[in-house]
């Protein structure tokens, strides 16, 4: 890459070592070692246009194909997005979105029809997306008690002060405590395939396997060995914004309480204010049928989660994934452009090298 080659000039130093016979007598004489005399063999790259040139070309030539590969991979991913916030008056969810209250008793549902013009062949991942929701706010991120979530019985009734002011409600400990849990996304989404004959066929949505394995099995645990969750959470109250206590999140005991996967996914706070979280997976049933065939669909939303107060948006995303995750053309573009820039700079350096390089090149010095 760079002008290189190990320096061989230091070898003569070692001859002198042999001549140092009476070294023992002169204690103060410094030792003649390559290290102490700062003569360690070394690679001394000199950065000039000529020596750096290959590096630029190589980077360019490697990056561009990678970039193309990544781009192609990304563009093969199918993604469909529906905004159901209901900002528009024409939107089916407009009425529901007018409700800013967390604990309104009246459930509000709305149904959004959409059309998929291409079928999804493999597993489809269903996400809900929120915009303008600062899950990464410093105080918000901290507002949780991991010990409580890990099933520590003492912490269950004595949430840590990090959870304040969502640790106690009317002097009873909140389980799960903290602002993150309190603000958990509580819309429920259902997907229906509308047959050409007009019947609504519910699309089976799998609610397990959406959280990290380690979260589900290590980090989050229900308190005690008690199989009866209701008893286990005795003495605690639900978070103020919740409609149901934590032990009623799901009927499946393996997906209830703290180990409810929707809950676990929510607890993994997003890095950026616009984020999506995995909601359901649509498993491919058999080899022949597409997971989601082309056609009309309807998304039924139990609209509970108010976002209009902070100008938030709610979306549902249906996406297939590849080996490198979801659809994101950026990395491919980045690779291609960085590669091209490198290649271009390489050409510039080539020019500089030819025009000016001779002046300082070592060959000319000896004149």
């Amino acid at each position: 890459m760079m002008a290189s080659g190990y320096n061989a000039k230091d070898e003569d130093g070692h001859i002198a070592v042999a001549g140092l016979g009476g070294g023992a007598l002169r204690s103060r004489k410094p030792e003649n070692t390559a290290f102490k005399q700062q003569r360690l063999p070394a690679w001394q790259p000199v950065l000039t246009a000529g020596s750096v040139l290959p590096a630029f070309f190589i980077i360019g030539l490697v990056f561009i194909p990678i970039g193309i590969g990544l781009y192609v991979t990304s563009s093969n991913i199918r993604e469909f997005e529906i905004d159901y916030t209901g900002v528009d008056v024409s939107s089916p969810c407009f009425n529901c979105s007018q409700n800013f209250n967390w604990n309104s008793t009246k459930p509000c549902t709305c149904s959004i029809p959409f059309y998929l013009d291409q079928s999804y062949e493999s597993n489809v991942f269903m996400y809900y997306g929120l915009s303008n929701f600062y899950q990464n706010h410093r105080r918000y991120v901290k507002s949780r008690d991991d010990s409580q979530l890990n099933g520590d019985p003492t912490e269950l009734t004595k949430p840590s002060k990090e959870c304040e002011p969502y640790a106690f409600h009317e002097h009873k400990p909140i389980a799960p405590c903290g602002a993150i849990a309190n603000s958990m996304f509580n819309d429920s989404l259902e997907l229906f395939y509308i047959d050409p004959n007009g019947t609504k066929v519910p699309v089976p949505l799998s609610s397990t396997g959406i959280a990290w394995w380690t979260d589900k099995h290590v980090k989050f645990r229900n308190p005690g060995g008690n199989p009866n969750l209701t008893a286990a959470f005795q003495g605690t109250v639900k978070p103020v914004n919740w409609r149901r206590p934590v032990y009623e999140l799901d009927s499946d005991p393996e997906n209830n309480g703290f180990i409810n996967e929707d809950f676990i996914v929510w607890m993994r706070t997003a890095a950026l204010p616009t984020f999506r979280k995995l909601y359901r997976v649509i498993q491919k049933r058999n080899g022949l049928m597409p997971t989601l065939p082309r056609g009309n669909y309807s998304l039924d939303v139990h609209y509970n989660y108010p976002v209009r107060s902070f100008e938030g948006r709610k979306r549902v995303i249906l996406s297939s994934i590849s080996w490198m995750g979801g659809k994101n053309p950026f990395l491919g573009i980045a690779y291609v452009s960085v590669g091209s820039v490198c290649f271009f700079l390489g050409v510039v350096l080539l020019f500089i090298h030819h025009k000016y390089g001779n002046r300082s090149s070592s060959a000319d010095m000896s004149h």
Binding site: Q37, P45, T48, C342, M365
Partner: protein, 1413 residues
């Protein structure tokens, strides 16, 4: 009994007569209490158990150098550490974390780095303190013998139990436990020899003498009989001063001197036993008071760094403020509708946006704290320690001869070595070897060459076996023999340095031959007078000094045969008989019976009529002896020939081998050795007596009445002796010619004598000038005979002066002045001081490196100038060029300074490549506040400056002036005590561990064995240290800014809430662990250019001088680069993960990884030398990061709130996206820098880069180029100007110089119209083109081109000059090497050819100037 008597005396005095006196004293005592200390013997108060002891208030001898006790350690150590501002800052930040509304990190974790740094320092301190404690304990428990009254004998006690007033008995090789006044010694001469190596490093023995009143005790000292009281000054730290007096029972007072005091820490040598009384104990001893901590200097780089740390603080505050305002606005936009993610305060209360913003400001200070690097200060110290280690271990800085290597005494200014601009050097012992060789002398106006002897004398000090040979040959050794017998390498070596003297040597021989003729024609009366002078001359050489005859190893026995006849006259007569007998052993077979007989024998039949004629002249028969005195081995002296055959056989037996001499200064030793070569040898010196062995006379003992020591104001020393032969009080004075010549007075009697004396003085002056011109150090010897009355009169006042406590120095000084008048000139000596090896080469290459070298010496102007020529400081090739002219002009001006009392422009003729020679008196004017600017303006435009005859104070004033006014980095190098002040003032003080003791070394920051090592120290180590540290500091700033900026960008995406996507652990340990090692390795080992190239191309040093590695703009460039890189490192992951389900720390961890890679690769781009250690450290860093991350992420699923990074990195490592990010981000982040470096390397490489390219070449090619590059214009260095031209002259400076030159014009316009015109227009052109010293080399050429125009004397001049200079393109000039040394082949020829005319032209210019003068 004794006690009672003592008390009685103390309170009541001895009689009525002294009663009022005592009262007076008591009254005074109260007022004087603060000024003196009274010491009574403890023995008197034994029963009082110390409670009533008057000494109880004085410190006891227990020492405690520890700083802490077990209890006080923590608070005290912390308090001390918090003196460092940075520590306070970091602790403040850590504590801020404990405020709930503010806390950004887990408070305990935030404390970790601070606690780590503090505890490392604390442990280091504790360990040091423990060591101190142990050594204290050891010292406190050493044994010493103290007299116990109860047991009436000396008993052993611990040192710590010793009290002031105790009597201590000291044995040979014992260490002194306290400052002890010597009361008794087993030595027959009442002396005690001590070695002061622990105090000042000098290993020669020093004599201390028993207090005068206890001198005559014939029996052993009995403490019980001691009743005196000692009054002395308060404890102080001046090792060379002790004043006080002892009051005896009978009221008699005796003065006490420093010679009576034995200092704590010294070792008793050569003395079997001594007894003394403790005066100062424990912490009040002089040694302890001198025990100052190490000096702390702050290097230039560090000062510059602190400015940038300050900028970092500003940036930090701006960033915090920005974020705080952003947060306020962010909250404000939601109004009353509080979103769910904006969590209320723990109390559930709502925060207003403004309050929130204020809290956030504090939070951000914590989050961004990394910007002010806590580890920077620690890292810098580590790197500096490593640098010091390497400098210590450099083989090339080790001198085998003396087994000494370079010592770094100041650990924290290594990088300053790479930035020096001015060197102030002492001459003697620094440039020269300070091995003085007696070369020639003139006695009574006749000159004697000493050429061969000089060689032989050199052998004295080196080869003992050869000495014997010389001795056996005696004075009759023919000159050629001595040459052939010592064709050692030494002589060959020397021949170079003495080249300049050869010419004068032969002349001197001629002159002495002429003298021979004159001798024959002269009358006998003058001859004998001359002979007296000759004898006196050699006697003066021998005794007028403080040289001690050393008898190492065995305890001292009486060396001399005669036991001083100082008691009474009778005593002396007896002695004299014996001496005569001894002396005449070989010559006079018949014994002498009376003293008259003796005098008759020794008095020449024709007495001279000089004022001492009555008794002092010697017998004619002694002519032989006298003549042999001066029978130099050069054998040119006619006197030798007169009676050569007779002296030869005698001398062999007469000359007893004498042990080596120990002198305080090498000059003295040289003189004594020289006198010994003429058979006038010093055999013993006691405080009251000097024994001299003269041929035919044997040993003569001179009673030494007084020694008036040398001081720099008087510039002379004198001894007052009683001449054993004549019994006259004689004063011998030796000193600088300038002062001696002023106090010489020709005798009043007889006009012919007067005439002769005048002639002698005149002739001696001529010789002195010659000596000086030959670069010899000159000394004048004079004598004076005092009559009894005169002496008595003087003695009375002198004794008063000696016993005075207040102002004793001044009184003694005046007393000496009174004595040293109306002297009779005996002769003068010329001593050669050889140049050290490699000095000219070193100076030449240091100058090429752009260093201005000033020589500040106390020597004569001519001597200094000659040495300057010899070491190429002034250009000897240009003797006939403007240089020498201006030399003369300067001298002319300096010599006439007295006439130009108020004039200001005296010593100057600023023309490029000129030397400015200025002497001490002129310097005194030049350093005046009103003139110093002008002086500097002149001085810095000169090629070199020579200050001669300067005092130590002036030296330091000059250094201070240059340092403060020109704002340059100064280095002072010297070897003697007179350089100490200069060494301390300069930015870097270098001491030469040479001949003159250790004071300079003790005061210095670096100590070198020889001057020539300065070259490698500055050019190689200085350059490396500077460039390493500068790069490391810049890198540190970059690194922290880049890392912190990542978090800053994130604030835009987290509502300015102070959230960080980087795990707090990574955030806190990133600097301390992950990125710490590679930069330390690079900072320690990186070599931009190899040592060989650096030494061959001194021009590369300029990069350090101009601070090219670390300029203020570079800080900002680094900051901008850091911001760019952080943008890349932030936004590539941002877009790659945009709108995905990624959580905070799964997104933050790749960013941390990427940042680490980028930072390490950045270091890689900046690293110039990759050794295996660099590779290892980088691999280690990466491995460490991943190991820590893996362990940390797997360790605990519930801990580390709030990040809880459980299994994050493990998942990331399975994600291909992570790897793609890790590849592209560092590449694109470093792209601009890498590209810039490549372009810079090709398009406008700095000199250093060219040097690196040279390093790449095979060794032989490189050698060729290096040798060529000095002369060829097409050398690679032709690229340099690009770089250097960025140094634009400072406009301010420029104006300043202009103003100066204008004022010059104004002030002198009226004075000397037509003469000054040319000169000052000269100055003006200087001012225009020489704005400041850094540009000097470039300016040089311009000036030389312009000068003729400015002078405008004749068209040919400019015509003649310019081609010679234009041949080398001006751009090349920064490499001073283009100045074409003559020894190089073709280009030189070209130079000569083209400038032949030019030289003529220059000659003409000279002329003009001379006329102008």
């Amino acid at each position: 009994m004794a006690r009672e008597r003592g008390e009685e005396e103390d309170t009541g005095g001895t009689g009525g007569k002294s009663a009022p006196k005592v009262k007076q004293r008591q009254r005074k005592k109260k007022t004087k209490e603060s000024k003196t200390r009274t010491v009574h013997a403890n023995i008197l108060y034994d029963s009082a158990k110390g409670e009533e002891s008057p000494n109880r208030h004085y410190a006891n001898n227990k020492i405690k150098t520890t700083k802490y006790t077990l209890l006080s350690f923590l608070p005290k150590n912390l308090f001390e550490q918090f003196h460092r501002f940075a520590n306070v800052y970091f602790v403040f930040i850590a504590l801020l974390n404990f405020v709930p509304v503010v806390n950004a990190f887990q408070p305990e974790l935030a404390l970790a780095p601070v606690v780590f740094i503090l505890s490392v320092t604390a442990i280091k301190d504790l360990w040091e303190d423990y060591r101190r404690h142990r050594s204290d304990k050891e010292i406190n428990h050493m044994d010493c013998l103290v007299y116990s009254r109860a047991e009436r004998r000396y008993v052993e006690i611990y040192w710590k139990e010793l009290r002031v007033g105790d009597f201590v008995r000291l044995r040979c090789n014992e260490i002194l436990p306290a400052d002890v006044l010597l009361l008794s010694s087993s030595d027959p001469d009442r002396l005690c020899h001590i070695e002061t190596a622990t105090l000042d490093g000098e290993t020669n023995l020093k004599q201390r003498q028993v207090v005068r009143s206890f001198y005559d005790l014939d029996c052993d000292f009995n403490p019980l009989k001691y009743t005196s009281v000692i009054e002395c000054e308060k404890p102080n730290n001046d090792l060379n001063r002790f004043r006080g007096y002892i009051i005896h029972r009978n009221g008699r007072r005796d003065a006490l001197y420093k010679d009576n005091l034995l200092l704590r820490g010294c070792t008793i040598r050569n003395t079997e036993e001594a007894v003394g009384i403790v005066i100062y104990a424990g912490h009040e001893t002089k040694a302890m008071l001198n025990n100052n901590g190490p000096r702390y200097k702050r290097s230039k780089l560090e000062r510059q760094m602190n400015v940038d740390v300050f900028w970092c603080v500003i940036i930090l505050l701006i960033m915090c403020l920005f974020t705080a305002v952003g947060h306020g606005l962010w909250m404000f936009q939601y109004g009353d509708k509080r979103p769910v993610f904006d969590v209320l305060s723990p109390e559930g209360t709502d925060l207003s946006p403004i309050m929130s913003a204020i809290y956030l400001f504090l939070t951000m200070i914590i989050v961004f704290q990394v910007l002010i690097p806590i580890s920077l200060f620690v890292s810098i110290e580590i790197v500096k320690i490593c640098q010091v280690y390497f400098i210590h271990n450099d083989l090339e800085l080790y001198e085998e001869e003396t087994d000494s290597h370079l010592q770094c005494r100041a650990l924290n200014i290594t990088e300053d070595l790479g930035q020096m601009q001015y060197i102030f050097s002492d001459k003697t012992g620094t440039l020269t070897e300070n091995k003085m060789v007696f070369r020639r002398c003139t006695v009574a106006g006749v000159e004697y060459s000493h050429d061969a002897n000089a060689r032989r004398l050199a052998m004295y000090q080196e080869v003992d076996s050869e000495e014997e040979e010389c001795v056996s040959h005696g004075g009759t050794l023919p000159r050629r023999d001595s040459v052939t017998s010592h064709t050692s390498a030494r002589v060959v070596l020397r021949s170079q340095s003495t080249k300049s003297h050869r010419r004068t040597g032969s002349r001197a021989e001629c002159s002495s031959k002429m003298d021979f003729m004159r001798f024959h024609s002269q009358s006998l009366s003058t001859l004998s007078s001359d002979l007296c002078d000759i004898i006196d001359f050699f006697v003066a050489l021998t005794i007028c000094n403080t040289v001690v005859v050393s008898s190492p190893n065995q305890p001292r026995q009486k060396v001399t045969l005669d036991k001083a006849g100082m008691v009474s006259f009778l005593h002396r007569v007896i002695n004299m008989f014996r001496r005569i007998n001894l002396g005449m052993r070989f010559e006079l077979k018949s014994p002498v019976k009376t003293i008259e007989d003796f005098i008759k024998r020794f008095t020449p039949s024709r007495l001279t009529s000089s004022n001492n004629s009555s008794s002092s002249s010697l017998n004619r028969s002694n002519n032989r002896g006298c003549s042999s005195l001066i029978s130099s081995p050069s054998a040119d002296s006619t006197l030798t020939k007169l009676d050569e055959e007779k002296t030869a056989p005698d001398l062999q037996h007469d000359f007893t081998p004498v042990p080596p001499y120990e002198a305080e200064s090498p000059d003295e030793a040289a003189l004594v050795y020289a006198a010994r070569a003429y058979k006038c040898s010093l055999v013993g010196r006691l405080p009251d007596q000097v024994t001299v062995e003269l041929p035919h006379l044997g040993k003569l003992s001179f009673e030494l009445l007084h020694t008036l020591g040398f001081d720099s104001t008087r510039k002379r020393m004198s001894v007052v002796v009683r001449h054993p032969l004549t019994d006259q009080i004689t004063v011998y004075t030796k000193g600088a010619d300038s002062v001696i010549m002023d106090i010489i007075r020709p005798p009043d009697t007889g006009t012919s004598l007067r005439k002769r004396q005048k002639k002698i003085i005149c002739r001696t002056q001529n010789y002195l000038n010659q000596y000086a011109a030959d670069g010899l150090r000159t000394l004048c010897i004079a004598k004076k005979v005092l009559s009894k009355e005169e002496y008595a009169c003087w003695l009375q006042r002198h004794l008063q002066a000696e016993t005075a406590i207040q102002g004793r120095e001044e009184l003694l000084f005046e007393s000496a002045l009174r004595l040293e008048t109306n002297l009779h000139l005996l002769g003068a000596t010329g001593i050669e001081d050889r140049l050290q090896d490699g000095v000219p080469e070193t100076i030449a290459s240091l100058r090429k490196a752009g260093l201005q070298i000033w020589v500040l010496t106390g020597d004569k102007q001519e001597t200094a100038v000659n040495i300057a020529y010899a070491c190429k400081l002034l250009d000897p090739r240009r003797i006939h060029s403007p240089l020498s002219l201006n030399q003369e002009a300067c001298m002319y001006l300096t010599n006439n300074i007295n006439n130009m009392a108020a004039a200001d422009l005296y010593p100057s003729l600023p023309v490029h490549r000129l030397g400015l020679v200025i002497d001490g008196r002129t310097l005194a004017y030049a350093l005046d506040r009103s003139l110093e600017d002008k002086f500097l303006a002149v001085a810095r435009s000169c090629r070199s400056v020579l200050c001669c005859r300067s005092t130590p104070l002036q030296k330091s004033m000059v250094v201070k002036l240059v340092r403060n006014k020109l704002k340059v980095m100064t280095l002072a190098i010297g070897d003697g005590a007179n350089d100490v002040s200069m060494i301390q003032v300069a930015d870097v003080g270098v001491g030469i561990s040479g001949q003159e003791g250790m004071q300079a070394v003790m005061a210095s920051d670096f100590a070198l064995p020889r001057f020539s090592y300065l070259q490698k120290l500055l050019l190689v180590h200085g350059h490396w240290c500077y460039s390493r540290l500068a790069n490391m500091i810049l890198y540190f700033f970059y690194k922290n800014a880049m890392f912190v900026a990542l978090i800053f960008w994130y604030q835009f995406y987290c509502g300015f809430s102070g959230s960080a996507m980087i795990d707090q652990w990574y955030l806190i340990f990133f600097n301390l662990m992950f990125s710490a090692f590679p930069q330390l390795i690079t900072g320690t080992l990186d070599k931009d250019v190899s040592a060989e190239t650096l030494q061959h191309l001194p021009q590369l040093y300029r990069s350090g001088q101009n601070s090219e590695e670390y300029k203020p703009y570079m800080f900002w460039m680094n900051m901008i680069d850091a911001f760019y890189q952080s943008l890349v490192c932030f936004f590539i992951p941002y877009f790659a993960y945009a709108d995905s389900g990624v959580d905070l720390f799964t997104w933050g961890t790749p960013i941390t990884t990427i940042a680490l890679f980028t930072i390490l690769l950045h270091l890689g781009v900046e690293t110039k030398t990759w050794t295996w250690m660099n590779w290892l450290s980088i691999c280690f860093s990466v491995a460490l990061f991943f190991t820590v991350a893996l362990c940390y992420n797997a360790s605990c699923p519930t801990c580390y709130s709030p990040s809880n990074p459980y299994w994050t990195i493990q998942r990331l490592l399975q994600d291909p996206l992570f790897y793609f990010l890790c590849i592209i981000t560092p590449c694109s982040a470093l792209l601009p820098r890498y590209f810039y470096r490549a372009c810079q390397g090709t398009l406008f490489p700095s000199a250093v880069q060219v040097g690196r390219q040279l390093d790449k070449l095979p060794p032989e090619t490189r050698r060729n180029i290096l040798s060529l590059s000095r002369v060829t214009t097409g050398s690679p260095l032709s690229l340099q100007p690009h770089f250097l031209s960025t140094n634009k002259p400072l406009p301010k400076d420029n104006e300043g110089t202009n103003n100066i030159s204008q004022t010059y014009k104004k002030e002198d316009a009226g004075k000397d119209k037509d003469t000054s015109k040319d000169m000052y227009s000269f100055v003006n052109s200087e001012g225009d083109t020489l704005p400041y010293t850094k540009d000097l080399p470039r300016g040089e050429l311009n000036i030389s081109c312009k000068t003729p125009e400015a002078l405008n004397t004749s068209p040919e001049v400019s015509h003649g000059l310019s081609p010679s200079l234009v041949t080398s393109p001006p751009l090349l000039s920064p490499t001073d090497s283009v100045v074409l040394p003559p020894e190089h082949g073709p280009p030189c020829v070209r130079y000569k050819r083209s400038s032949e005319e030019g030289i003529q032209g220059q000659d003409r210019t000279e002329h003009k100037i001379q006329v102008a003068l």
